[in-house]
Point group: C2
Chain length 321, copies 2
């Protein structure tokens, strides 16, 4: 399908290009109950690379009993060791994970801190301050080994236990992560509760705390707000966006739960705005179709569904408007 | 669920309140294959009224063989004749339809013109100029009877036959409809192909052609862009938005086709931005749940799914971000 270039930008000063961080192979798949075969993960990443994505989160080095789906991350990383033009961060929760990442040949790791005390204890099994100290060690160890380090701030807008999060608190944590040496910090709306006003406030506080070019955003589509929140952040000049092919990432414990922002819907919007991504939308949709087939589910991306069904024509029923 | 007030508006000058035009009972249901019982339609409208909606498109007066689902619109209208504080437009394609609307006691009718020649011929069975002349007659007849007239511009951004539509062409048609006496013109992205740049260009051209307060927007979620397009138009000061409870309105001939912007997702965003709607989100979600049950389908609204499952808490799986 051809999407012509923009006919006028949105309100703010939009970036000329956006780098998409595809998180489907990790954030998207990690909660799948049925183990996804290694070959399917490798094929997914190969298709994402072929579609033009140049940052792809490949997996995580955590205890297999904790996240069994990611137990083969070493083999995923090994498979792409020679793919030098694609950055493939892997999540590491601690020094042991870092050692595994090093052994596998990973060049980039990601660390993830929580903005609230309750979420740190629930998600990271440690008090907030202790988890931050632990990540500082991991970051130092990674950098000493010549690895790049990406940071995440979970609950940057809303916490499932504590409610709305002060933008300044999230921004301060972003600053701590950059001080540890993170080249980029992804601000995550973990619950998907943000709407554009809160997304903008969080992004503005973050930009005030760390350099604009180091800020990434990561929205979930729980309330259908992921894309509109993303545009709001782009209008502030942010140009790095996390998303997941086919909107993978729903929670297995909440049937019907919405996952990450769908990469296809993001690319469709950016193309329409004349913003470069380097991604081939047709090839991306095909990558999503293939992994959705493996998982036995319908893509959560509207664009994927539209393009799969060639639903660019309207309904033939009379009185359509 | 409590959604706190805004913490800062988006980029543009957002309106303080938005009037939502709920189109579920007409645009949402018209293409359903299985006939929806009159009692279910009446119950839906009653629940929408109870939820605080004050403009509800109730049905259409067209030949029953053309749109069998709307054959009982006279009885729907009769049921709400004494509900004086709710505006309930009914679609009328011609003078015969207008007579039926008058006989039923409708106080507001809607007419719908197409921006492109091809769509006028396909959807209205008449050349574009002829259909416009026909609607001028209908509007004059309605106003002579003391009725209010709402206008629609179909294919205001994109036509399934002719591709992208010049914003000026859509705006000119909006001007023609206001000259006929329409109190408001709803600019429809019929195929759902618009992304925010094109939505903004269309809206800006329309605002230049007719008074701001007479402009409404109507987006479909085919490519997942309905909400972000809507916010882009609100930033231009537009304050009337069409939407459909549960995102009803998918095309029966295209399984999986996305419908209208879901009212629940719209209300969630507006509440978060501190923009008044007068709508109770919990009651709205319940109205959507009930009609979705009648239709035997899952709501297309993410907010409806989130609130139904109380999925405001994040996934319990470790490493959520």
């Amino acid at each position: 399908m051809t999407v012509e270039s923009t006919v006028g930008a949105s309100g703010g000063a939009l970036p000329k290009s956006v780098r998409i961080v595809e998180v489907g192979p990790r954030d998207g798949l990690q909660n799948e109950k049925g183990l996804v075969p290694l070959a399917a993960k490798v094929a997914l990443i190969e298709r994402l690379v072929a579609a033009g994505l140049r940052t792809i989160e490949a997996g995580s080095f955590v205890a297999p009993r904790w996240v069994p789906q990611m137990a083969d991350t070493d083999r995923v990383v090994a498979q792409f060791r020679s793919t030098l033009d694609v950055e493939m961060p892997v999540l590491v929760p601690n020094l042991k994970g870092l050692e595994l990442a090093k052994a596998a040949g990973a060049r980039t790791v990601a660390i993830f801190a929580a903005a609230t005390e309750s979420f740190a204890r629930a998600n990271l099994n440690a008090p907030r301050a202790e988890s931050i100290a632990r990540f500082a060690e991991v970051a130092a160890g990674a950098r000493a080994h010549g690895m790049r380090v990406r940071g995440y701030v979970s609950c940057a807008v809303h916490c499932p236990y504590e409610g709305w999060v002060e933008p300044g608190v999230a921004a301060e944590l972003a600053a701590a992560l950059t001080e540890m040496g993170c080249y980029e910090v992804s601000m995550c709306d973990t619950t998907g509760a943000a709407s554009p006003g809160r997304a903008r406030a969080m992004a503005a506080a973050t930009i005030a705390a760390i350099p604009l070019e180091q800020v990434a955003v990561h929205f979930h589509d729980t309330f259908g707000q992921a894309l509109v929140n993303t545009l709001t952040c782009l209008e502030l000049g942010i140009s790095v966006v996390d998303s997941s092919v086919s909107g993978l990432g729903g929670c297995p414990y909440s049937p019907g739960a919405a996952g990450n922002l769908a990469t296809e819907d993001l690319v469709y919007m950016l193309e329409g705005l004349g913003i470069e991504t380097g991604v081939d939308l047709e090839a991306l949709v095909e990558a999503g179709r293939q992994i959705s087939g493996v998982l036995g589910r319908t893509p959560a991306s509207r664009t994927a569904l539209a393009m799969a069904g060639r639903r660019t024509t309207t309904c033939n029923a009379p009185l359509s408007n």
